[in-house]
Every structure is written in structure tokens, then in C-alpha cells.
Symmetry: C2
Subunit: 138 residues, 2 copies
DNA sequence: TTTAATTACCACCTTTCGGTGGAATATACA
DNA sequence: TGTATATTCCACCGAAAGGTGGTAATTAAA
């Protein structure tokens, strides 16, 4: 029960860029401060740029940044979605075809409760919320 | 964010055996009703048996079972522990070395809340609880 | 216009997880 | 004692995730 390593990397980077909103960082710089493998990070940043979560400038003195005025528009679920997709959050633990809220297996309620809590956390917190330590929970 | 497939398999089997407590099932029988690859399931059952979560009898008419009077002793965390270990549940999402409850990153509180909720769910529900739909949550 | 710093792209390697095949061993019972 | 039905064990296969290397394209500025 965990996020993929790549997802952790992505969150790490995004939180860092949010804390330094407006400043531009090269992969090299990010690699040094964030302890994520250089080449892998490069690929990841490219992905995040293509999904529109960070702005990129190429060439010398180029790099990645997230603008301060976008912090409240970028939610955690978008970061997760960009790297590992959101499918798993609607998939069931036992995967029986016949099941539903009306015809649940022994774990249904227990499991749904946790899943919904996590989904809710991802959907209700933007980067701005994180920085404010303004954690909305419900 | 998901359990390993193997963990799902394990929970599936254990819940099934709990629902049919006392009855013995061969891998073949389990494979047919639970839709888990035959050989892989065989290996998994062996693991569960070695961890003491199921009783096994070898040879003809042999198979696996869980006794009715053990249902209240077998907790979800034991099943998870038996197949994927519990390490991930104490590992942090960002993995910075300097962090703690006193010196948290922007995600700390948010993340800990979910992690603890899941751990609590695993630690406070036995197979007997599942069957009773008697979900203790705190 | 050349150079240095940087992203973009593509192919490949490694590790881990899920899955398979086959033979050895155990056991009930005819 | 022989046979059928099981588990057990070991080695291997395949797919997916994580990670690396090399080179082309892009850009600022000397
Ligand atoms: S009842 Fe719920 S938890 Fe159980 S298998 Fe169906 S969707 Fe999954
Ligand atoms: S502060 Fe908490 S969430 Fe953040 S890196 Fe440390 S342990 Fe993880």
C-alpha cells in the first residue's frame, strides 16, 4: 500500500517548485537538491511539462518552474494522474464482477472508506493549500 | 496507490476460507472459484501456510483450511505482512532524512492521517470482524 | 557565429513482481 | 502395494517499473 516511486518523485518536485514558485530550475539543480536520479528526473520533468503542470524553457539558462498564480489551480490528484493515472482509485480490492454497494463483499465498506478518504485528500488539496498548511479534509 | 496484486489475492483467499471456515479446499478448487492463476496460487497458499495463517494437509484429499475458532485471531495486517511486509506503512512519502512530526514537510500531516487510518483499519479488523460486518474503525 | 548549458528524444539495461513448467514428495484408499 | 490426487520445491519466463547513456535540438550570450 504505497504510491509508486515515480509518483513520490513527482510530488517531491512539485512541492519544491511550489515552495520556490516563479523561480526556474534546471534538471541539474533539481537533481542536486532533491536526490532523484538525474536522467530519470529529466524524463519525469518532461512528462510534467507536457501535462501542463510546470512551465519549461529550453536552451541555455532554461529549466522548469511553476508560477505563483497557478498554485491554487494545481491539485494533488493532477500530479498523481500525470504519472500513474487515477484508475487504481476506482478499482476494487477483490475485483469480483458482481459486487456493488448493495451486494458488497466482507471488505467493501472498510475498503471504500479508506479509498474515498485518500481520493478526497487528493482532490481537495492544491499546492497553495499545502503551502498554507491549510489542509482541508472533508 | 494500491495493494500489490499478490496481497489482493491473499486477502481474497483468506476471506473465502473464513466464509467457509473449517472446510478444506485444494488449490484446484480455490483456483476455480477465486480466479487466481493455479500455479501462482499454489505458491501463495504455501506461503500462507508457512506463516501459520492457514492449516494445510498434504496428499490425496489434502488442501488448506482456516479453523472457525481462529477467525478472531487473524487480523488483516497479518495477511498483508505475510505477503508484502509492513515496511511501507512506516515509510514516508518524500523520504527526506531530516523530517519529523516537529519538522514536517508540506504534506506531512495530510499524509500521516491517511497512513494511520489505513494502518488502523488493518490492525483492528480480524477475519471474524469482517464476517460480522462489525467494522471497528478507531 | 561559435560555444556552453540546457531540454527532448530514443534505445537499452536492471530489478522486481507476477506467472509457468516440471519433477519430487506425501497421503488416502482401492 | 499401486494409483490417483494433493502439496512442495526449484528454476525459469515475461511484463512492468525504475534507471542509464548517447545524441540531437534549442537557446542565451560571449
Ligand atoms: S464488494 Fe466492494 S470491496 Fe468487495 S470485491 Fe466488490 S467492490 Fe471490491
Ligand atoms: S515531513 Fe513527513 S511526509 Fe514530509 S518527508 Fe518527512 S515524513 Fe515524509
Amino acid at each position: 500500500m504505497h504510491f509508486r516511486k515515480t509518483t513520490e518523485y513527482a510530488i517531491r518536485v512539485m512541492v519544491f517548485l511550489a515552495e520556490n514558485a516563479g523561480k526556474r530550475f534546471s534538471v541539474n539543480a533539481l537533481n542536486k537538491t532533491l536526490d532523484i536520479p538525474y536522467k530519470y528526473l529529466g524524463r519525469l520533468m518532461n512528462q510534467l511539462a507536457q501535462k501542463g503542470l510546470v512551465e519549461v524553457t529550453q536552451g541555455k539558462y532554461g529549466g522548469y518552474l511553476v508560477n505563483a498564480d497557478r498554485l491554487s489551480e494545481i491539485y494533488l490528484y493532477q500530479i498523481v494522474d500525470a504519472v500513474e493515472g487515477l484508475q487504481d482509485y476506482d478499482r476494487c480490492i477483490l475485483g469480483f464482477p458482481q459486487c456493488s454497494d448493495e451486494n458488497p463483499c466482507a471488505l467493501h465498506h472498510l475498503w471504500m472508506e479508506q479509498r474515498e478518504a485518500i481520493k478526497n485528500m487528493l482532490y481537495s488539496n492544491s499546492l497553495a493549500d499545502l503551502l498554507k498548511n491549510n489542509f482541508s479534509r472533508r
